[in-house]
Symmetry: C2
Subunit: 343 residues, 2 copies
Amino acid sequence: MSFRLALDAMGGDFGPSVVIGGLDQALKNAFLPSDSSFLIFGFESEVLPVLAQYPTVQKRASFTHTDVIVTNTSKPSWAVRQGRKSNLGQAIQSVVDDNADAVVSAGNTGAYMALSKILMKTLPGIERPAIPALVPTLKKPSLVLDLGANLECSAENLIQFALMGEALVSHLFDIPSPSVGLLNVGSEELKGHAAVQLAAQNLKNIPQFNFYGFVEGNDIMAGTTDVVVTDGFSGNIALKAIEGTARFIKQIIRDNLSSSWRGKLSYLMSKDIFQKIHNTTDPRLHNGAVFLGLRHIAVKSHGGTDALGISHAVRVAYQMSQKKLIESLEKRLSSLNQVGEIL
Amino acid sequence: MSFRLALDAMGGDFGPSVVIGGLDQALKNAFLPSDSSFLIFGFESEVLPVLAQYPTVQKRASFTHTDVIVTNTSKPSWAVRQGRKSNLGQAIQSVVDDNADAVVSAGNTGAYMALSKILMKTLPGIERPAIPALVPTLKKPSLVLDLGANLECSAENLIQFALMGEALVSHLFDIPSPSVGLLNVGSEELKGHAAVQLAAQNLKNIPQFNFYGFVEGNDIMAGTTDVVVTDGFSGNIALKAIEGTARFIKQIIRDNLSSSWRGKLSYLMSKDIFQKIHNTTDPRLHNGAVFLGLRHIAVKSHGGTDALGISHAVRVAYQMSQKKLIESLEKRLSSLNQVGEIL
């Protein structure tokens, strides 16, 4: 199956060199079919010289110059008013116009989400899209959402995230009825603020829906449920806290093992094992989050990632497109809704 | 210096055996002066048999039976109305009456906080107390607050937490002007919801106050600032996510190293190093959080901890009392307030 990817070349902290470099790595690592084609949007004088350095990307690419550029400080409200002609706006629109199968950007999350929502529209019954992430756990990977698209959430938002998360995990891993937990400060029923309380009451009454109840911060990595639902403020902080902790522990292992000859020898003897542990918690290998709840595929990469990270975001975009995410999501939401009338 | 500790023997998931056992460990480990005395509150038939098993504790203890017991499901509103005569209420009151220097409980956080607030009263200018925790970081330990006492926070609450956290760290570690970060979904000034925005605007205008700006989830363990301020919902989730991640990584290290003879040998060679790494992230050794903002010392232990964890909560209570926490906090808050008029 061929794959047509739209790409914002200007997004992310390091600009075109990392974005185009990531596309090159995705091809080299066979994350994409060899007949993939790319629509690349950005500022000519910055993108074309980089493109010339990557002939494998260049020969598959068609470039569009845009005068308007979304930056890390562009506000969502500005993006909606002025951003349609921007690098990001045109990349998104190319998917809506069916000139591409998916879009990837490492740019400003707020602007990207606002533009995607207005140009791509949301699925029936979905008020706001959410950003999910798959995290490795002691059991199988868990899906956590929202990661920052919606800082303040009503009970309705949380319920919609729960349904979408369930549908995505069911689709990706072919699990008939994934378990869904609602993130809270305690697992007892009386805990939490009004929105989580109301969301829990509603979720537990949906027929054919495997609602586990409240889960706590430590349940994320324990893999207690297949899906963990929370507002974007707490979700963003929790996921970054998890990344920071992984980095912290890897650092103290490195420091301690390298401070004595016995430690160094231990490390050398089992270098492959330590590398495997390192990879499990390397955020670049888990980079790429689809905006869940839109009618097309838009994938967000971390802004601070490198080419390896971008290549994984590109891989996610391809997988979501190949697996027909949107069709499957729409079907599942509609079937849950028919029974529960919740959207 | 002698130390008089009030103790709720019924709190926590495992009741008197863990609580009294923890007191015994605290004495054995010399966390307390040898002339310490204990006021113990609880249900006679459950506490006395346990007390008889620990003669070193028993000979320093005076026991009070209470008919009313606060349980894990007692609501804060019930505690305020009915709980003054309870195990927890009487333990707190004994500190107010100057029969004890501090109180420790592993019981229901909501009820404990509500009772403490009403019986002990808050410091001038402090609307709501917060629960802080010291977490190990790549630099020196950081203080994170609030950990769950206040699920929804106004800008004023966040500002008060920032001032109290700064005062506590300044006092504990003798740092003249600790740096304070406000937890948010991004470090750019325009990020976040209204309460964090307003709090940041106010904090950066306080003279002689080292406000760093916004920090993100990964900054907690990186030790970017001495103090990290957030609402109790996000703080609770972040701290538990950190604990869960530490557990996750330790587990994958164990699993991977024990799956081959080379791994096992690596582990055995540097067993002391792995033990040291394990201890750095053992939550029991960091157990015990003081309710910050009260006029007396009340320390909360994790409900799910064991006797070792309790002994560390007891150690915290002693240290706070010995270091004259309340006097110092009051002085610092009043001096910051004189300049900034912010409370």
